[in-house]
């Protein structure tokens, strides 16, 4: 029962949504819209699981005094403060509390809400900076690991060279005086529009077939990984 009910639900809704695609009748469309609404509401609850999992990990870390447990306080406190500020003070539209605080303390902020101040000056800079570290690591990796050991590596390397030079203004400047067909930016456009596009299309079609196969396996109950372990 514990596996049969969910498998039946997946089968019924999967088949119904496939069939619905081909039926433009108003009843079918009404049902389709209602199901989409339901899906949106159900998915909203998944975030609760993600948050609770994170909180549990950090509380455990603090309780058992694992390495770096002090930093878990930073996570928990910043999480709580940001959530309280956002829920009580408003996300994109200030609540009455925020409006009163701004007027009372004469806060000069450009953003509408305190949550957006936190987002603009803490989350955006840190998120962008975290990923910008990759610029350094990719340069280091390219220096150490990108070796032309065989024919396929040479093809990859040469294409990367041409694209990296041709997609920046300096590459266009270098070959400016050459005939159009030999100009780097035109060579790059040709590579991207033909051989690259052909391989990407082949990969894409393979991915599409895989997606359809997996979807059908889920609907037919062959693929049951989403049910988790146990009975």
């Amino acid at each position: 029962m514990r596996r049969k009910i969910p498998l039946t639900i997946a089968f019924v809704f999967g088949i119904v949504m496939i069939i619905q695609f081909f039926i433009p009748h108003p009843v079918s469309r009404d049902f389709y819209q209602t199901m989409l609404d339901w899906r949106i509401i159900v998915i909203a609850f998944t975030y609760i699981l993600a948050v609770s999992s994170l909180i549990r990990i950090h509380i455990n870390k603090v309780r058992r005094k694992k390495t770096g447990w002090g930093f878990s306080y930073v996570t928990l406190i910043s999480l709580t403060v940001t959530a309280v500020v956002g829920v009580i003070g408003g996300c994109f539209q200030p609540t009455q509390i925020t409006t009163w605080l701004i007027e009372h303390f004469n806060w000069q902020i450009e953003q509408r809400t305190v949550l957006m101040v936190i987002f603009t000056y803490i989350q955006i800079p840190m998120g962008a900076t975290m990923f910008s570290l990759l610029a350094f690591f990719i340069a280091s990796a390219a220096f150490r690991a990108f070796k032309a050991r065989n024919l396929t590596a040479i093809i990859l390397l040469l294409t990367a060279f041409v694209v990296m030079l041709g997609r920046v203004p300096i590459g266009e400047l270098i070959t400016k005086r050459l005939p159009e067909v030999l100009q780097l930016q035109n060579i790059v456009e040709w590579i991207l529009n033909y051989p690259n596009m052909a391989a990407q299309r082949g990969i894409l079609m393979g991915v599409g077939l895989g997606m359809m196969a997996t979807a059908l396996k889920i609907i037919l109950g062959i693929e049951r990984g989403y049910l988790g372990g146990g009975d």
């Binding site: 949504m17 695609f21 699981l49 956002g86």
Partner: protein, 238 residues
């Protein structure tokens, strides 16, 4: 010893450059910009070595991100789709008349969503499979016809638009040989093997292009942060 010497010399040079920029530029008067810049530098300190400043910034980032997510989910999803229709706008009451189905259309998915919380119990944890099966089954059903149309049909159609040009020929050969390469049900020997080998060349060209673009993307991220530090924070550039 050598490393410590290098660190001291490097820090002094950076400090001199920083003071020079402060004097020459027009640093921001906003404390918030200074906080953002400080957190940026905390994260960049990881490039030298993992340290407490980086760890602090990393944990702060995780906390703020999740807190922001809670706020947005609460305001945009729960309040707009569940709380308001149920208790404020009462979409199930039309022209003073009560309608059962619009009420159920909010209550049923809400109850299904609440079943997700059964994961926190020991005996009833299996109930989480119900909302998951609903979402997964629906997603699978919705995706089948759309995937066929968008990924298979359109691209097959366009591949078969043959023109009398070398480029068109290269395109068709590339698509077919790439697909052959990913056909693993038969061993890549003989004609199949040779075709798959040609497919590998096309795939290498695609990966080379992707690598070139990836380098471009990563450098762009660094450029964005450099622009923030030099323009918004230190005011050294226009």
């Amino acid at each position: 010893m050598k490393e410590r010497k290098g660190l001291i010399i490097g820090s002094v040079i950076l400090l001199i450059i920083f003071i020079g920029m402060l004097i020459k530029g027009e640093p921001s008067k906003s404390i918030l910009v200074w906080i953002a810049a400080l957190l940026t530098l905390f994260i960049y300190s990881f490039l030298y070595r993992d340290n407490i400043f980086y760890k602090f910034a990393e944990h702060l980032f995780v906390g703020v991100s999740v807190g922001y997510g809670i706020s947005v989910y609460w305001q945009n999803a729960f309040i707009r789709k569940v709380f308001d229709p149920l208790f404020i706008t009462k979409t199930y009451i039309v022209d003073g008349q009560f309608h059962l189905w619009p009420l159920l259309a909010i209550v049923i998915p809400t109850l299904m969503g609440l079943l997700m919380l059964s994961i926190f119990t020991k005996k009833q944890a299996w109930l989480i499979r119900i909302p998951i099966a609903f979402v997964v089954g629906m997603s699978a059903g919705i995706s089948v016809p759309s995937t066929f149309q968008a990924y298979i049909f359109e691209h097959t159609k366009n591949t078969l638009y043959i023109t009398l040009s070398i480029s068109s020929f290269i395109m068709i050969v590339g698509v077919i040989t790439t697909l052959v390469y990913f056909f693993f049900s038969k061993e890549h020997k003989g004609l199949l093997g040779k075709t798959a080998n040609i497919g590998i060349w096309f795939i290498m060209i695609a990966f080379g292009a992707s690598f070139g673009y990836t380098v471009m993307a990563r450098i762009s991220l660094l450029i964005g942060r450099m622009n923030f530090l030099l323009y918004d924070w230190l005011g050294v550039i226009k």
